[in-house]
C-alpha cells in the first residue's frame, strides 16, 4: 500500500468528480432543497400535550393512582408509565426523556396518615415544555394538599435537572439528511463508476499500472468521506442558522460518518461488480438505495411508521447509522449509539468482504 498512489488516484478522481454536475447536485444541492422544503413544512407544528413519564413505586395504596388520574385530567400532559423495576435515571437517559415524575412507595400511607412525602420531578429546564409539565404537577399537588385543613405541605415536589431534551422536527432532519448523503453520494457514483469502468475497460487499464485495488478503494473512501463531511457541515450550519436547531455536535459523529461511507462505498462497488451492464447496475443500485432512503429515518423518525414498516427499517443498514447519529446529536445517549456503531461495523465488514470477493479488475 503506497500513500503516493492513493494521493495520485485521489487527485484524478476528485477532478473527474468535481467536473460532473450531477454528482455535486446530489451531495450539496439535493439535501439543501429537501431541508428547506421539509423544514418549512414542519417547523411550525407543535404537539399539544407534553409527554410526562411517571414511575409509580407505590403499589400498596390507591392514592397514587388517584394522583396520576388527576394529573392526567389536566390535559396538559400525556402520561407514560415507567415500569417500577427499573432505575429511573437510567431509563430517562436511555429513552431521552425530558420530563419524569417519581412517586415513592410510601406515597399512599404517608398521605393517608398526613405524614410528609416527597415526589421527585426530573426535568430539563432548558426545554420549553418542561415547565408545562411542572405546572400540571403543581396544580395537582395543591389540589391534594388542600384536603388538609392545616394547609401544611404534606406532599412536596423536589425538582431534579436532567440534560435530555425533546427534539424538534429539524433536529431529526439533520442526522437524517446526513445519513442520506452518506448513503447516496458513494452509492450512486460507485455503482455507476464500477459498471462503466468495467465496460470501458478502464479497470483493466489500471490493472497494468502499479495501482492496486485496495489503493483505488481507499482513495474513493477518502474522497467520499471528505465530501460527505463537507455536506454534513453544510446541513448542520443551515439547520442551526436557519431553523434554530438545537442539536448537540460532538466528535462521535465522525466514526458514524466514516463507517457509513465505508459501508456504502463497498456496497456501491458490490452492486456495480455483480451487474452485467451499466443499465442493470443502475437498477440494482436503485433497488438498494431507494427503500433505504425512505425507510431508515431519513426524512422522519421511524417511530411514526406502522410497526411492520419499522421492522423492515431495522434490517436496513442505514437505519443504524441514522439511529446512531440521532442518539449522539439529539439524545446524547451514548449507550445506544455504541450499539448502533457495533451493528454498523459488523454490517460494513460483511458488505466489504462481499465486495472484495466480487470486485475484479480483469475478467478471465
Amino acid at each position: 500500500m503506497k500513500i503516493r498512489n492513493i494521493i495520485a488516484d485521489l487527485k484524478i478522481y476528485s477532478r473527474n468528480y468535481m467536473r460532473s454536475n450531477t454528482a455535486i447536485f446530489f451531495v450539496f444541492i439535493f439535501p439543501l432543497v429537501l431541508m428547506l422544503l421539509f423544514g418549512s413544512i414542519f417547523s411550525g407544528s407543535t404537539t399539544s400535550a407534553v409527554p410526562l413519564y411517571v414511575q409509580n413505586m407505590d403499589n400498596s395504596g390507591n392514592m397514587s393512582n388517584t394522583f396520576i388520574e388527576t394529573l392526567n385530567s389536566t390535559h396538559f400532559v400525556d402520561i407514560h408509565m415507567i415500569p417500577d423495576n427499573v432505575n429511573i435515571q437510567a431509563y430517562i437517559s436511555q429513552h431521552s426523556i425530558t420530563a419524569a415524575l417519581y412517586i415513592p412507595s410510601n406515597f399512599s400511607s404517608s398521605y393517608n396518615t398526613g405524614n410528609h412525602v416527597s415526589l421527585v420531578y426530573y426535568n430539563n429546564p432548558a426545554v420549553s415544555t418542561s415547565s408545562v409539565a411542572q405546572q400540571a404537577i403543581s396544580v395537582t399537588v395543591e389540589l391534594f394538599n388542600s384536603h388538609f385543613a392545616s394547609q401544611n405541605q404534606t406532599i412536596a415536589v423536589a425538582s431534579t435537572s436532567v440534560t435530555t431534551h425533546a427534539a424538534s422536527y429539524v433536529d431529526f432532519m439533520i442526522p437524517g439528511l446526513i445519513g442520506l448523503v452518506i448513503l447516496t453520494s458513494p452509492m450512486f457514483s460507485m455503482t455507476y463508476i464500477v459498471s462503466s469502468y468495467k465496460k470501458e475497460k478502464i479497470f483493466r487499464q489500471l490493472s497494468l499500472t502499479p495501482l492496486t485495488r485496495s489503493e483505488w478503494f481507499l482513495s474513493k473512501f477518502v474522497w467520499y468521506l471528505f465530501i460527505s463531511a463537507l455536506s454534513a457541515i453544510m446541513i448542520i450550519a443551515v439547520g442551526v442558522l436557519l431553523f434554530h436547531s438545537s442539536i448537540s455536535l460532538n466528535i462521535y459523529v465522525v466514526p458514524f460518518l466514516a463507517i457509513g461511507v465505508f459501508m456504502f462505498t463497498s456496497l456501491g462497488i458490490l452492486a456495480g461488480s455483480v451487474s452485467k451492464s451499466e443499465e442493470s447496475a443502475s437498477v440494482i443500485g436503485n433497488i438498494i438505495t431507494f427503500p433505504m432512503m425512505f425507510l431508515s429515518g431519513t426524512f422522519f423518525p421511524i417511530e411514526i411508521m406502522p410497526t411492520w414498516l419499522q421492522s423492515i427499517a431495522h434490517v436496513l443498514p442505514l437505519y443504524y447509522i441514522i439511529d446512531g447519529l440521532n442518539s449522539i446529536t439529539i439524545y446524547s445517549n451514548f449507550n445506544s449509539a455504541t450499539l448502533d456503531f457495533i451493528v454498523s461495523v459488523a454490517v460494513a465488514a460483511v458488505i466489504f468482504a462481499l465486495s472484495v470477493y466480487s470486485f475484479r479488475w480483469k475478467e478471465e
Binding site: N5, T209, P210, E364
Partner: protein, 302 residues
C-alpha cells in the same frame, strides 16, 4: 534470448474458439507483427501475453514470467496500448500522463510524450471530447510511460491520418533502434512488411504462416507476374507454347513468369506478330497478395 514464448495456447469464449493452439517465439529486440482478418484472434492472443486474459490451455512466458499471475510484476517492464483504448471521461491528456507518471514513480514526462504523438494542442481537452485518433495517441503515450522493454501495440495506426501514421512508424523504428521488443497488430500489410522483422498471419485462431516478410513472400509467393494487354493470339502463345499460368482479368492478362527468359520470349513474340503492347508491368507478389490468397484458400477449403 526470447522475450516471449507461447506453446500450444488455446482460448475459447463459450463455443467460439478465439485462439486455437498457437505456438511462437519472439526474440528480444524484435518487431513481431500479427496479421489476420477481423476476428482472427489477434487481440485475444496479445491480451493473453499482456496478462489481461487467462489462457485455457498452453504455456506462455513473457520476459520469463507467466503473465496472468505475474501481471503486476510485468507491468513495470511492459507497455500496453490496447485496441479501443478508453480512459476516465472527464480527465485531460495532460492529467492522465501525470497520473501515470506518479503511479509508475517516474519523472514528469508529459511534455515529451505529448510532443511525441502531436497531442500538445489538445492536452487540456477532456478525454470524452477527444477525437478517435487523439484518444488512441493518448493510449500510446500511456504505454510508454514506464520506458518499457516490451511494448504491445494493438492496431496503433488504425484510424490515424497519414501524417500521424508516419509518426507512429517513426516511433516504432525508434523503439527498435533502442533495442526494445515490439508486438504490433495491424491490418495494414505494407506496415508490417515495412516495420516487422517477423510476422505471424492468423486466421480462425491459428497461425497459418510465420516468418520474415521476405521469407513468406519467397516461400508462398507465386513469383513475379507480368501483366500484358489481352489478345487472343498472345493468350494462346502464353498458355500453349510457353505453358505459363495465365489469368485474364478484363482487358489484361497476368502471367506468372519463371525467369527473365519468359519475358524476352513474350516481347519477341509481340514484336514478330505486330502486337502493340500498350501497357506492360512486371511485379513481385507482396505480402498483401499472399495474405489475400492465404485467407481465400482457407475460406475455400473450410
Amino acid at each position: 534470448m526470447d522475450a516471449i514464448t507461447a506453446d500450444d495456447v488455446h482460448k475459447s469464449y463459450g463455443s467460439i474458439k478465439a485462439v486455437d493452439g498457437i505456438s511462437f517465439k519472439v526474440q528480444k529486440g524484435e518487431v513481431y507483427s500479427f496479421l489476420g482478418p477481423n476476428g482472427a484472434g489477434k487481440t485475444t492472443t496479445v491480451e493473453m501475453l499482456e496478462g489481461l486474459r487467462k489462457a485455457d490451455r498452453g504455456e506462455i512466458r513473457v520476459l520469463g514470467e507467466e503473465p496472468w499471475h505475474e501481471a503486476s510484476k510485468l507491468g513495470r517492464t511492459v507497455g500496453v496500448m490496447p485496441q479501443d483504448f478508453r480512459f476516465i471521461e472527464r480527465i485531460t491528456s495532460r492529467e492522465a500522463i501525470r497520473y501515470y507518471c506518479s503511479l509508475f514513480s517516474v519523472r514528469d514526462k508529459t511534455k515529451e510524450l505529448l510532443s511525441l504523438v502531436d497531442l500538445e494542442e489538445v492536452q487540456n481537452v477532456q478525454f470524452q471530447n477527444l477525437s478517435g485518433g487523439q484518444k488512441q495517441k493518448l493510449g500510446i503515450c500511456l504505454a510508454l510511460i514506464n520506458d518499457p522493454e516490451l511494448i504491445f501495440l494493438d492496431e496503433p495506426t488504425t484510424g490515424l491520418d497519414p501524417k500521424a501514421r508516419r509518426k507512429i512508424w517513426d516511433l516504432i523504428r525508434k523503439l527498435k533502434d533502442e533495442g526494445k521488443t515490439v508486438i504490433l497488430t495491424t491490418h495494414y500489410l505494407e506496415e508490417a512488411e515495412m516495420l516487422a522483422d517477423r510476422v505471424a498471419i492468423m486466421d480462425h485462431g491459428k497461425i497459418i504462416a510465420e516468418g520474415s516478410p521476405g521469407e513468406i513472400i519467397n516461400r508462398m509467393g507465386k513469383g513475379r507476374k507480368l501483366t500484358v494487354p489481352y489478345g487472343e493470339k498472345l493468350q494462346e502463345y502464353l498458355s500453349k507454347d510457353l505453358k505459363l499460368d495465365c489469368n485474364r482479368t478484363g482487358d489484361s492478362i497476368s502471367v506468372s513468369i519463371h525467369s527473365n527468359k519468359d519475358v524476352i520470349n513474350i516481347l519477341d513474340f509481340a514484336e514478330k506478330n505486330g502486337i502493340e503492347l500498350t501497357s506492360l508491368s512486371l511485379k513481385e507478389d507482396t505480402l498483401e497478395d499472399i495474405f489475400v490468397d492465404l485467407i481465400a484458400e482457407k475460406e475455400g477449403t473450410s
